[in-house]
């Protein structure tokens, strides 16, 4: 776990610019979402809703392809870190890079769902 975090820190340092851009997109989306009136998003928010998963996918791709795990020239070939764990470490990085921005968005989604449910309840009663 210690080594996995060590490698994760390295990946964060390596892709800090891409991570910053992704987080920037998330902040922009969260801001628009919080200040939106009504349930239907505007055009900009709609674009961001599509762009953000693409940015995550791009980030995940970067992490996976940055260091090859196969071949006879790759960096990990003689490093004392087992191959299967290396692939798990990549999954760990991917999971973190997607989970971190996803959590506040999911919370926001459930908040919205709750409030819209309440609105439906109010209109029914």
């Amino acid at each position: 776990m210690r080594l996995a975090l060590h490698i994760f820190r390295k990946d964060t340092r390596r892709f800090w610019w891409e991570i910053t851009v992704t987080l920037g997109l998330l902040v922009a989306l969260a801001y628009m979402d919080a200040h939106r009136i009504g349930f239907i998003p505007g055009p900009m928010e709609g674009w961001l809703n599509m762009l953000l998963p693409s940015a995550w996918a791009y980030l995940v791709g970067l992490v996976i392809h940055d260091e090859a795990l196969v071949g006879d020239r790759q960096f990990w070939i003689t490093r004392p870190y087992p191959g299967p764990r290396c692939s798990w470490r990549k999954r760990f990085s991917c999971w973190h890079s997607s989970r971190f921005p996803l959590s506040p968005q999911m919370r926001r989604f459930w908040q919205r769902a709750d409030s819209s449910q309440c609105a439906i309840c109010r209109s029914c009663s």
Partner: protein, 237 residues
């Protein structure tokens, strides 16, 4: 390798193996200093003092990224990251290709100084370079190991023999297998004896040739031995 099948090496064995190859992929974006500090947690035997000494010795620019390094500096950075944990086995795959003589000498000296209790396995086509410091030699031909032998023993058992006859004669029919690459020019016959013994070889020459005027046995450098073996194209164990 280190008592374990090389296909089943685990982290424990790998933490005692250093590997430097001319084709090895390194994280190009890392500054040299960060590369060394990044490598440190993987190796329990890592010594900060040793790493600092290697940085000073190789004059490594710690702030420069690996991508911006010359070939020699890149090999030095890879070596520093492999020597800093004092591995028991160091595998060097053509590490000195394309480096100037001074850099080669510096690298060889630094490796030998730091590996008195380690095994260094060096794969190289530069035989003159190997000859200067190798204690054992292994010969691979088309992926097959032909022999492993002590350098001194190998050097002792190979000689280029030059036989001068009084009159020109054909090569004998019962030509020994361990006499390689025979060449004849008038009364002079040359071949490589792969099992040279001063007394036995001379007696064998005198038995096979009549009218021997002179026999000369020339010492062969490693390069000539390997050329002779490659020409003969067979194992001569």
């Amino acid at each position: 390798m280190l008592g374990v099948d090389s296909r089943r090496l685990g982290p424990h064995q790998l933490s005692q193996i250093g590997y430097v190859s001319e084709n090895q992929l390194l994280p190009e974006w890392m500054p040299v200093g960060y590369f060394l500090s990044y490598s440190k947690p993987f190796y329990p035997g890592w010594s900060n003092e040793e790493a600092a000494a290697l940085i000073r010795l190789y004059d490594l620019p710690v702030d420069r990224t690996i991508k911006a390094l010359s070939r020699g500096m890149r090999i030095k950075a890879a070596l520093a990251s492999s020597l800093a944990y004092r591995p028991r086995l160091i595998i060097l795959d053509e590490p000195f290709n394309g480096l100037d003589v001074l850099v080669r000498e510096q690298l060889i000296e630094s490796i030998l100084e730091r590996t008195s209790e380690s095994t260094v396995l060096l794969a190289s086509h530069d035989l003159a370079e190997i000859e200067s410091f190798a204690s054992h030699v292994a010969y691979l031909d088309r992926g097959r190991l032909q022999f492993v032998e002590e350098m001194a023993a190998l050097s002792d058992r190979f000689r280029e023999i030059e036989v001068t006859l009084q009159n020109a004669a054909d090569l004998p029919r019962d030509w020994p297998d361990h006499w390689l690459n025979p060449e004849q020019a008038s009364v002079v016959i040359r071949f490589t004896d792969s099992r040279f013994d001063p007394d036995r070889s001379e007696a064998e020459v005198r038995r096979l040739f009549s009218g021997v005027r002179d026999i000369a046995a020339h010492h062969m450098p490693l390069r000539s031995i390997f050329v002779a073996l490659a020409k003969a194209g067979k194992s001569v164990r």
